[in-house]
């Protein structure tokens, strides 16, 4: 028997007003008509609490795109879950925020793309930045937990200090500084996002200084760039160990990206209880524990710490989901990481990525440098 999951990631919709170039959503998104109903989610939340889960992270897409969000938050809260809304803030008025807090919202996580308006809007593919700043003040006024998220990458790491000061000025209780992780749309745009060694080393120093300086004021959590690490990340705290994700159409996945792994079938909350999905569904058992591990993981002292790294990254970069994560320096396929880093550190301009019409790119002002260096593949929306 697997021990109980700790948290539920409720990916309630893939609709989103932003089109971030590093979006973690799958390239094939779920359509609105296929989304599960309010009652399905409410039952999921009750079952989650009964299974011993403590937190629910409402995410998307943009969760605000669901008209029943207030009802969903109220249901999760009544079930006893700690509710966290992960949002771009677009479409959130002061009144609707008050309503969500009244329904039992405990925590709001607001993403920022940059400290500077033009690049922030460029990355998001939408004019969102100014509204987010206004929203930050409304959140503080509500006295709920407030995390500001900052995704960092090649295009913004050179002014990391400025971005941290910017976030500091919004006075959240917590700041998350996350290196872009290369799944979904981010993998498509990897060459333009991956930092140089110099940027990374600089970032480590800047973040450490900020942690020290803001201690007791803003708690900082950092998500590392595993391409540069010696050992892989302990993805999701181990496959099927701590977290369960339910996607917009009700399928239970061990993580955001698991859909990329061929041959995995994901059972649905429409047919099964959460307990059954956690304990019995094949997808959750596939890489749970150590039986699936190849060498060098199988005999590695670190296997209980990092679980062989990320299964999805292993598949995306080596073609084998049961391979050691190539982020690990001990992986026989570690060279794929080294090749990507060589390109990133070559000093050459970033090669052209998947193109999109120039007219669209021009729609968000002139962020000349990015435009010159590369072309982006923006996240699209489900039909």
């Amino acid at each position: 028997m697997a021990s109980n999951p700790l948290a539920l990631i409720a990916e309630i919709t893939h609709r989103c007003p932003l089109h971030c170039v590093y979006c973690s959503n799958p390239l094939q998104m779920i359509q609105v008509q296929a989304e599960i109903a309010t009652e399905d989610w409410l039952r999921v939340f009750r079952e989650a609490a009964k299974l011993g889960m403590l937190h629910v992270h409402l995410t998307g897409g943009e969760p605000l795109a669901r008209q029943d969000l207030t009802e969903l938050i109220a249901g999760a809260h009544q079930a006893g879950l700690y509710t966290n809304l992960i949002t771009s803030g677009l479409g959130l008025t002061r009144g609707r925020l008050r309503e969500l807090v009244g329904a039992g919202l405990d925590h709001i996580q607001l993403s920022f793309q940059d400290s500077r308006e033009a690049p922030a809007n460029w990355i998001a593919g939408a004019r969102a930045h100014a509204h987010k700043i206004e929203l930050a003040a409304w959140i503080r006024e509500q006295r709920i937990a407030f995390t500001a998220n900052l995704v960092v990458h090649r295009q913004n790491l050179d002014h990391l200090e400025e971005m941290i000061s910017f976030i500091e000025s919004l006075a959240p209780g917590r700041m998350e500084i996350a290196h872009a992780q290369y799944y979904g749309w981010a993998l498509e745009n990897r060459a333009a996002l991956i930092p140089t060694r110099e940027q990374l080393d600089h970032a480590v120093v800047v973040v450490a200084a900020a942690v020290e300086r803001l201690k007791g004021k803003i708690r900082i959590d950092a998500v590392v760039a595993d391409y540069y690490a010696r050992y892989p990340k302990a993805c999701m705290g181990g496959w099927g160990q701590r977290l369960m994700l339910i996607d917009p159409k009700g399928r239970a996945l061990p993580c955001h990206a698991a859909g990329v792994i061929p041959g995995l079938e994901f059972d649905s909350v429409r047919e099964h209880s959460l307990e059954w999905l956690w304990q019995e569904s094949a997808a959750f058992q596939k890489f749970r524990g150590e039986a699936w591990m190849p060498e060098p993981c199988r005999s590695c002292d670190r296997r209980a710490e990092d679980f062989g790294g990320c299964r999805c990254q292993a598949f995306l970069l080596t073609g084998d989901a049961a391979a050691t994560d190539p982020a690990c320096s001990l992986s026989p396929q570690h060279f794929v990481m080294e090749e990507a880093l060589q390109v990133a550190n070559s000093g050459e301009p970033v090669s052209q990525l998947v193109s999109r019409p120039v007219a669209e790119r021009g729609a968000f002002g002139s962020f000349a440098q990015v435009q010159r260096e590369s072309e982006w593949k923006y996240r699209v929306n489900p039909e």
């Binding site: 700790l6 609490a49 011993g52 403590l54 937190h55 006893g80 700690y82 966290n84 405990d106 925590h107 996580q109 006295r143 709920i144 937990a145 407030f146 995390t147 209780g173 917590r174 201690k215 007791g216 708690r219 959590d221």
Partner: protein, 96 residues
């Protein structure tokens, strides 16, 4: 970072709250929920945190605890409670 002062009024920080009783199957333990995490507290730690209601001062909380616990060494409860709260303050779980 600093320890709570006598007149500090410790309270659970914004966004931190006790889990509902059902979440705690073991009644010795209670859970405090906060963004991205939770801590379980029991024994004296639990007692200290339960006293942090945002109304009473640290000094008042210490005297309550001193009446409940029989600790011979003078000042011991006070320093233990102060250190405990400072740790939670650093994690942004307790404010004062």
């Amino acid at each position: 970072m600093s320890l709570p002062a006598d007149q500090s009024v410790p309270t659970l920080a914004t966004g931190c709250r006790w889990a509902t009783p059902e979440a705690d199957d073991d009644h010795e333990e209670r859970t405090v929920l906060f963004p991205e995490g939770a801590i379980k507290v029991q024994g004296p730690g639990r007692r200290i945190l339960e006293e942090c209601d945002g109304k009473r001062t640290f000094l008042e909380i210490v005297s309550t605890l001193e009446r409940q616990y029989n600790v011979a060494e003078p000042g011991r409860i006070r320093s233990d409670a102060a250190n405990f709260l400072e740790q939670l303050h650093e994690k942004r779980i307790v404010d004062y």
